[in-house]
């Protein structure tokens, strides 16, 4: 009988190997994760909904396929978690909001359809800042998730629940969504891998839209190799999302992901840039120090690293806080209490139409959501559209051009993922702007539509520090190959992972 702790410590690739060898069944793996969720979720609040029955059904079906020699692939029988803004047919999808407290979508998101077709087991839906608006999960209507490294601290956001679930071994891997850093920042704060693919790489159909020109779904995993497997399964063009890129447009990988594959990664042929603007005045000195040390370590394995400059970096956050609210205002208009979700109309028979709209939205939406809707309404209204939204879109073009220019000098960029480690619960909730500044290193990447990945590299006072690797648009394959090489270099977080596990057992 294999130890539950051992089973839940495996990466996706390790789990797939153990299933293939017959050491464990998918039912055993799923039961191990469900037991661990039951024990630890009350103190971590990573999961909003656990699909106890359907997960075991899916696991049984997987085991049957395996017995009949009909394994669907690496993901067959692997238990995953999904951020709760990704639609799962007939199963609660709340977006972390009271407005969708009882909402069950009538369709699966494309990524869910693909995962199910690959035989994955869906364990449940994870916590998030309401409608993905936030950087700490404190905006969830269902309470914040807790950072497993220190329960008095935030896990980051908005995909906080998914990051916690992976970090605390409550799932093999998870999906999150990233509009301004919502995969990468929590992954960095929780000491796991988080990958935001190129905009257009993964279909947004079924993702409850936040900012349509910025949103991307991506994997949060224990290793980069795991992220590659998940991304390969969920990516692809989709007739349901006309912003998805044609499949043949990707720069095919010149670099293999495995040491003995064709063209293994040779860092000596690659040039890396470190943009000085990502080490701005808000950066924690210990984080700066550890990232610089990590960069020195990369040099020892042959990486050619130079300093570069991206002068528009500071403006990128301002661009984001115009474009994002405007698109949010548009996307949130559908929550009008008419077609789905909670509504004044469900209880009050006298209320007039305008009240149905105004009171439903006032009552069931949280503060940050309302703030962004109003900001976006203002910035796109007559008389202000040119000054704010149109100008922001033009600066977006300039920012994209700046990245195009820097990627002529270097192949990839290296930055700290976040200027700080995980902050305390309640530390940044008083002033919205303070919270917004937490995203300064991740937001420019969404503006330019680039792929970026965070890998855990060090601990600062016992809290994880992430290193961000950024590529030119559609170089996801090469980015993952290089990140994999880096990931293998910085594996000394494992031991601390064990200590963290012990901490959580006593929680």
């Amino acid at each position: 009988m294999i130890d539950e702790k051992l089973i839940t410590s495996w990466s996706l690739i390790e789990t797939a190997e153990q299933l293939a060898q017959g050491t464990v069944s998918s039912v055993q793996v799923t039961e191990a994760y469900l037991a661990r969720i039951e024990r630890l979720n009350p103190s971590l609040n990573a999961f909003l909904t656990v699909f106890q029955e359907t997960a075991l059904d899916q696991a049984k079906e997987s085991d049957n396929r395996r017995t009949n020699g009909q394994v669907l692939g690496q993901l067959d029988g692997i238990p995953l978690a999904l951020k709760d803004n990704i639609s799962t047919v007939g199963q609660k999808t709340t977006a972390g909001s009271r407005l969708l407290e009882n909402y069950e979508p009538l369709y699966d998101a494309t990524v869910v359809r693909k995962l199910k077709a690959a035989g994955a087991v869906i364990l449940g839906k994870t916590n998030l800042d309401e409608f993905a608006m936030g950087s700490s999960t404190e905006n969830s209507a269902y309470g914040p998730s807790k950072n497993p490294w220190d329960l008095s601290r935030v896990p980051g956001g908005s995909s906080g629940g998914s990051a916690v679930a992976v970090a605390a071994n409550l799932c093999v891997a998870a999906l999150g969504s990233d509009t301004g850093g919502s995969i990468r920042q929590p992954a960095s704060h929780c000491g796991v891998v988080g990958f935001k693919p190129s905009y257009g790489s993964v279909s947004r159909y079924g993702l409850l839209a936040m900012a349509s020109s910025l949103d991307q779904i991506g994997p949060i995993t224990k290793t980069v190799a795991d992220a590659t497997v998940l991304w390969s399964t969920i990516k692809g063009d989709d007739s349901f999302d006309s912003t998805t890129l044609p499949n043949d447009q990707y720069k095919s990988s010149q670099i293999s992901n495995t040491p003995d594959g064709p063209n293994p990664v040779d860092l000596k042929n690659l040039k890396f840039g470190v943009p000085k603007e990502f080490f701005g005045e808000g950066i924690n000195p210990e984080v700066k120090n550890l990232i610089e040390q990590s960069i020195e370590k990369l040099k020892t394995i042959g990486a050619d690293i130079v300093e570069v400059s991206l002068p528009l970096t500071d403006s990128a956050l301002a661009v984001y806080y115009v474009i994002c609210p405007v698109e949010v205002a548009s996307n949130m208009a559908r929550y009008d209490g008419i077609r789905f979700g909670e509504s004044l109309a469900r209880g009050d028979q006298q209320a007039k139409l305008l009240s149905v709209y105004e009171v439903t939205r006032a009552k069931y939406l949280g503060e940050e959501v309302k703030r962004r809707i109003m900001l976006g309404t203002y910035a796109s209204s007559a008389g202000y559209y040119d000054q704010y939204y149109n100008q922001a879109m033009k600066v977006r073009t300039l920012i994209k051009q700046e990245y195009d220019s820097v990627f002529k000098q270097v192949d990839f960029l290296i930055t700290p993922t976040s200027p700080t480690t995980a902050f305390k619960l309640g530390e940044k909730t008083k002033d919205p702007l303070t919270m917004y500044l937490a995203d300064v290193n991740t937001v420019p990447i969404n503006i330019a539509g680039l792929p970026a990945i965070t890998i855990p590299v060090a601990l600062a006072d016992g809290l994880p520090v992430g290193l961000q690797l950024i590529g030119q648009s559609q170089t996801d394959l090469n980015l993952l190959s290089v990140a994999n090489k880096f990931n293998l270099l910085f594996d000394h977080l494992d031991q601390s992972q064990q200590e963290m596990n012990q901490l959580k057992e006593s929680a």
Binding site: D314, V319, D336, I373, V395
Partner: protein, 100 residues
């Protein structure tokens, strides 16, 4: 630089109306302050020269992605759709009177 963007409470009341969100007097004060601060922050963009630059709605470069106009299988169960709406009658969604 530019003068500090400061919203009046009348403006915020109007914005809330456009956004179809009811706000209390306390919220009006709070949001006026917070929105003013955020707009003040983003005002830095007006200093950037964008005279010859095109605005772009998304950065994939894709335009006019088409598919043939052919009906496929139903993707959503219309009965369930009607049932899950806040108010419905037979196969129709029910809304309050739009016009008096």
């Amino acid at each position: 630089m530019n003068e500090i963007a400061k919203l009046s409470s009348e403006q915020v009341t109007q914005v809330a109306k456009l956004a179809r969100i009811a706000i209390s007097d306390q919220e009006l004060t709070k949001y006026t302050e917070q929105l003013s601060a955020i707009l003040n922050y983003v005002d830095q963009l007006s200093a950037i020269d964008t005279t010859k630059i095109n605005s772009v709605g998304q950065i994939t470069g894709l335009t006019n992605v088409m598919h043939s106009d052919q009906a496929g299988a139903d993707l959503i169960d219309s009965k369930l759709f009607v049932l899950s709406a806040p108010q419905s009658e037979n196969s129709f969604l029910k809304v309050r009177a739009v016009m008096e």
